[in-house]
Amino acid sequence: MADFDVEVRVTPRRGILDPQGKAVEGALRSLGLSGASEVHVGRLIVFALAAGSEGEAAARVDEMCRKLLANPVTEDFDVRLRERAGSAR
């Protein structure tokens, strides 16, 4: 077993109206900070996971994303896995 640090980034699917992103984009512009476009606001979910291998960890996180962490109707997700140094046991 090894411990992994997991980051799941969930973002509104491109092309779907994201009013939060639009509002942030407008606020950036009103600050005079120009050039930002296609702003989307999502969420970052971080956790630790014990798994036998990186492949197993990836498969389990994928299932977590599909069943709960993201809603495939409107959201995309992206997973980053990092094994904790010296965590293999």
Binding site: P12, I16, L17, P19, Q20, A23, L68, N71, V73, T74
Partner: protein
């Protein structure tokens, strides 16, 4: 005839539903606790409005996984009537009992006001007391009420006649101006393909007495009661 109203942590329209059933239908109503696995032999289930689990993660996402939802899903799959109002609609979508999802209102604002609804189906068990083309005045109160589904899913809903209510103006005109939250095709309420699971963002339980400003929601409760009486 017995109605069940599920209470999740954060539900706040459960008592309104309970009261509508008891006082307007004169029928029996019971609260169903989210942690229970027992539907207490009810003939119909309401998932009420509110902010279950504080809308954490996504509105309705956590509630859709609560213990009672396993029973509600089995009840729905066996043909039992299930109606989700507001947060209840969000929960039904998250549970996969209805297609699509309710996302943040287009204008970002929480909308709390009466709206007009066009009745597009008067042959469902939830709307048999209405007539196609009726315009109802019923309140909404939500921040995440923008109905979204992929275009092919919307086409399928349309083709199957699963769109039950649309936002309209007081004359029944469906237009972008009468859409309070940016919902696709002005959708305010849908049923599943089998016709026994309905979700709607407006609150019929808040329109059942003159004192509340409208009685247009009565037909919704009476329709279900008529259906149960006829079964």
């Amino acid at each position: 005839m017995k109605f069940g109203v599920v209470t999740f942590p954060g539900s706040n329209c459960d008592y309104d539903c309970y009261k509508a059933v008891r006082e307007q239908l004169g029928a029996e109503a019971v609260f169903l606790w989210h942690k229970d696995h027992d539907l207490q032999g009810v003939d119909a289930v309401f998932l009420p409005g509110g902010f279950s689990y504080g809308d954490y993660l996504r509105a309705g996402a956590i509630a859709s996984l609560s213990p009672i939802m396993r029973e509600v899903t089995a009840f729905a799959e066996a043909g039992g009537p299930v109606a989700g109002i507001c947060n209840g609609f969000q929960i039904l979508c998250e549970a996969g009992l209805l297609p699509g999802q309710l996302i943040r209102n287009r204008g970002l604002k929480f909308r709390s006001r009466p709206v007009h609804l066009l009745v597009e189906r008067a042959d469902t068990l939830f709307t048999r007391e209405y007539t196609i083309g009726d315009v109802l005045r019923i309140p909404i109160a939500h921040g995440e009420g923008c109905y979204f589904a992929d275009p092919d899913v919307l086409d399928e809903l349309q083709a199957n006649g699963q769109i039950v209510f649309r936002y309209c103006d007081e004359d029944g005109l469906v237009s972008p101006a009468s859409n309070p939250n940016g919902s696709a095709r002005n959708i305010a309420g849908v049923v599943n393909a089998a016709g026994n699971v309905l979700g709607m963002m407006p609150h019929p339980e808040r329109a059942v007495e003159e004192l509340l400003g409208s009685t247009d929601g009565l037909g919704f409760f009476r329709s279900i009661a008529d259906h149960l009486a006829a079964v």
